[in-house]
Subunit: 448 residues, 2 copies
C-alpha cells in the first residue's frame, strides 16, 4: 500500500469535492493493497487476494475521487502543471492539468538482466498480479524444488511460504549471512535457525544465470560454481524507487534514486508537488543522511501527511530510525538504528554489546532464548542501534529501542526504563535492559 | 525478589571481601526468589518451588557474603550504627555494627482484621511458604470452590491459577471494575473477558467476614449482602511497605508508609543508609509525586544501584512511569503513566482517546482485537498515560508508551514513531500509533 492511497481520502476529509477536485492515476487494476501480505497469501496463511485489498477503486470513488485505473502517467510537465496519461485499455493519451501534484509511484523490484530471468517459473512478488502468477505456477508444480534469490525480508518470508507449500527451499544470496539488514554476527543466528527449519542457505554467492529446460521453463539457478535445481524461482532481491518520470521531469533525486522532499513531504524546491512512499528517500534520524526504505508503514504515514498538507492542514514527517521486523517460521528478527557499518559510514565511533536472555521469566513454561545486540556511541553512550533475534515476543521489543533512539536516549538511561514486567512477559530484567546494562559497561570501559 | 538480594553481589563485584565485609539478615528461609512467580507455581505452569529461587543462600555465601537466614532484625540503632537481630532458631539476640546499612525489608500483604481471617483455608500468596501452604490446601480440596479477595494483579493471576486447578472461582473486590490500576472503562473490558472465562466477579463489595464450618475451616466469604461458599480463600488485596523498624528508628516515611530516598537510593537525610525495593516510595516521573509500587523489576534495579553506590561506584534511579503488565488466561492487560483520576489529582488537564485495532494485520490468521486508551495533556499534547487490554502481543506494546512518557513525548510526535511493522506483528498502523493519532485529534479539538 503506497502513499497515494491514504493521501486521497485524507485530503478529501480536509476539503470537500466543491473545494478540491482529486484525480488519481493508477497503472494497475488495484489501488490500495498490502504488498507486505503477499508472502502470507502465497504461504496459505491468508486465504485469498481480496483479503489484502484495503480499499477498492469503488470505495475511492465513493469519496468523490476521480480514480482512473489501468491508466499510466507517461510524462510530468512541471512548468506546465500538467501530466500526460495513457489509457492502457485503448492506448489513447491525454493531458490533465493540476494545481497540486502528488507523486506516489512506489518502487520496482530489482530484476538483474540475467540470461533466463524472464523464463516461465521465475517470479517476483511485488504486486497482487505477481502473487497470483506465482500461485498458478505453484499449483502446477506442487511439492517440488524452489530457489529464492535474495535473503532480505522478502526472501526469508518467501522461503517460509514455500516451505509451508511443501517445497524443498534453497535461498541463494550475495552477503555472507542472510538478513544483511543485521550485522553478520546476528545474521549468523538467522542462518543457523533457517538450517534448523530445513531451509538451505547459500551465501556470498551471485546468481549468474537462470537455466531453462527444453520446454523453456526454469530448471535451475546457476552461480559461478554450482547449479541449484528449481521448479520455481522467486526473486526477492529488493526494490528501487520508481522515479523515471520524476527524473525526466527534473525533480531532485538522492543518492539511492529516490525523490528528495522537505519535512512536509513536499518535493524540494517545488511549492506544489509532494511525494511519498517507496519512491522517496527519508531522513534517517540516527545517521543524519537520507535512505531509501520501502515499507508500507512509512508510505502510509507519508500519505496521511501529504493528504493533510494538500488539504490545507499541517503535518510533517520527522524521519525514521530504520526499524524493521520480520519472521521466518517461529524465528523473529528485528532491527532499528544503525548497523556497525552504518555507524562507521556516518563517522560515529561506538561500542557494541550482545546478550542472551529469555522472552519470559526463565521458569515460565515455553521460555525461549532471545539475543539482543546494541550499539552505543563512544563517550556519550547514546544508543545508536539494536538488533534482536529470537522466538515469540522478540521482534516487537525492538520498538523500545526505536522510541529510545527517537528520543536520543543513552544506554545508561535505558537501564532504568520502566518496562512491563510479569513472569509470562519478561524476566525481571527485560532483555533490552540487560543489553543496555552491558552496553553501558562497554561505554565506561572504552573511556573517553 | 527484593532489593537486598541483588545489592549484595553487586556491592561484592565492586569491592572484594578484604575491603568490604557484607552481612545480610533474612527472617525467612529463602533469600532470593520470585514472588511474582507464585501464581504460576500454584496454577501448575511452574513445576516446583525451586524454579522460583534465583540464588540460594549457599550461592550468596560463595561470594563471601555472611548471610544469616532465620534471623530477624528487631531494631535499627541509627545513631549507634548497629542493628539488633534475633536468631529465630534459639531466640538469642545480639547487636551488629555497620558502617553502611541497606534497608530492604520489602512489603507485607494487607490482611484486614476480619473475623475468620486466620481460619485454615485462608491464604496469602506473598512468600514461598505461603505458596506451599496454599498448594497443600488445594491438594486436600481439589476441584472445589475458591473465592479470591481483590482483583488487582495478584487477584486476577490467582483467579487464573485456581481456574486451571479446576476450581469454580469467584473474585470479590472493592472497586466498580476489576484491575483498578486501569480506568473503569478499561477495567470493564477485563470484567467482560473474565466473565467469558467463567470467572465470576463481584465488584463494589467489601468482605465483612470469613465464615467457618464446624471443623474450624473456611466455608464462605461474607459481604454485607451475600455469602460466597468457599473451600479455599486467597487474599490478593495488595501490600504495604514493611517499615515498622525504619519508622521506629526515625527514618523518613512518605504518604504511603514507604521509606523516602534520594536519587542514589540513599535514605533522605542519612549519609550511610540506603533503602530499596518494596519498602520504599519511588518518584513518579509523570505526576512528580512519590508512590508505592511493589514490583520485582523496580526492586532489582534498586538493588543494583544500591550495590554500586555502597561499593563506591555511582548509579541513580531516576524514577518510574508506572508500567505494569498482567494476564488472565489469554487476556493481556497493561498500563503506564496516569489514569484519569491520577491526572486530576496531579493538577493536569487532559483529553482521552480510545481505539480498537488488532495485534497483527487484520488479514493475518489469528488477528485479535486490542483496545488502547491514551491520556494526553490539554494544550501541550504531552502523553500522560496509556492502557491496553487485548490478546497476544497486547501487553508489551505498553513499553512503547513507557519510553515515550520517559522522554516527555507528545502524542503528535508519537504518530510518526518508527515502530516495527510486518503483517504477523502489526497492522500497517500499530495500534499505539492509531491511539496517538486519535489523541492528537482530541488535543487539537480541545484547543487552548
Amino acid at each position: 500500500m503506497g502513499a497515494g492511497s491514504p493521501a486521497q481520502p485524507q485530503a478529501r476529509r480536509m476539503k470537500g469535492p466543491e473545494e478540491l477536485e482529486i484525480i488519481a492515476f493508477e497503472r494497475g487494476h488495484f489501488t490500495s493493497y498490502s504488498a507486505c501480505g503477499i508472502p502470507y497469501w502465497v504461504g496459505g496463511d491468508v486465504p485469498g487476494r481480496d483479503e489484502l485489498i484495503a480499499r477498492t477503486p469503488q470505495e475511492h470513488r465513493e469519496r468523490s475521487i476521480d480514480l482512473r485505473v489501468r491508466t499510466e502517467v507517461t510524462e510530468l510537465d512541471v512548468a506546465g502543471q500538467r501530466v500526460r496519461a495513457r489509457d492502457l485499455s485503448d492506448g489513447t493519451e491525454s493531458w490533465t492539468g493540476f494545481d497540486k501534484l502528488i507523486v506516489a509511484t512506489g518502487a520496482r523490484p530489482v530484476r538483474p538482466p540475467l540470461p533466463g530471468i524472464d523464463a516461465p517459473g521465475v517470479h517476483g512478488v511485488q504486486t497482487l498480479d505477481d502473487g497470483q502468477a506465482l500461485l498458478d505456477t505453484l499449483a502446477a508444480t506442487e511439492g517440488g524444488r524452489a530457489v529464492v534469490v535474495g535473503a532480505g525480508y522478502i526472501g526469508v518470508e518467501m522461503a517460509e511460504a514455500l516451505l509451508k507449500r511443501g517445497y524443498e527451499v534453497t535461498v541463494v544470496h550475495r552477503d555472507e549471512q542472510p538478513m544483511s539488514t543485521l550485522d553478520p554476527d546476528m545474521g549468523r543466528l538467522v542462518h543457523a535457525a533457517m538450517d534448523g527449519m530445513g531451509i538451505t542457505t547459500v551465501g556470498s554467492t551471485a546468481v549468474s544465470k537462470i537455466l531453462t529446460g527444453e520446454d523453456g521453463r526454469v530448471r535451475a539457478v546457476a552461480t559461478e560454481d554450482a547449479e541449484y535445481p528449481a521448479d520455481v524461482v522467486v526473486l526477492g532481491i529488493g526494490v528501487q524507487p520508481e522515479t523515471a518520470l520524476a527524473e525526466a521531469a527534473g525533480l531532485p533525486l538522492g543518492a539511492y534514486g529516490g525523490l528528495l522532499t522537505d519535512l512536509s513531504m513536499r518535493v524540494r524546491g517545488h511549492e506544489n508537488i509532494w511525494a511519498g512512499g517507496d519512491c522517496v528517500e527519508v531522513l534517517d534520524l540516527v545517521s543524519g543522511t537520507t535512505r531509501h526504505i520501502a515499507l508500507g508503514t512509512h508510505a502510509n504515514k507519508h500519505g496521511q501527511i501529504i493528504g493533510a498538507n494538500v488539504g490545507g492542514g499541517y503535518a510533517t514527517f520527522p524521519g525514521v530510525v530504520g526499524t524493521a521486523v520480520s519472521k521466518v517460521c517461529e524465528l523473529e528478527i528485528a532491527r532499528t538504528g544503525l548497523r556497525e557499518k552504518d555507524a562507521h559510514r556516518a563517522g560515529l565511533q561506538f561500542v557494541t554489546a550482545t546478550i542472551e536472555s529469555t522472552n519470559s521469566a526463565g521458569y515460565y513454561p515455553g521460555a525461549a532464548l532471545m539475543t539482543v545486540k546494541m550499539l552505543a556511541e563512544r563517550r556519550t553512550g547514546r544508543l545508536l542501534g539494536a538488533q534482536i533475534v529470537g522466538r515469540e515476543g522478540a521482534a516487537k521489543r525492538v520498538d523500545i529501542a526505536a522510541v529510545a533512539l527517537t528520543a536520543g536516549m543513552t544506554v545508561e538511561r535505558m537501564t532504568t526504563l520502566d518496562l512491563g514486567y510479569a513472569p509470562p512477559f519478561s524476566p525481571v530484567w527485560d532483555p533490552v535492559l540487560v543489553a543496555a546494562r552491558k552496553a553501558t559497561a562497554a561505554v565506561r570501559k572504552a573511556g573517553v
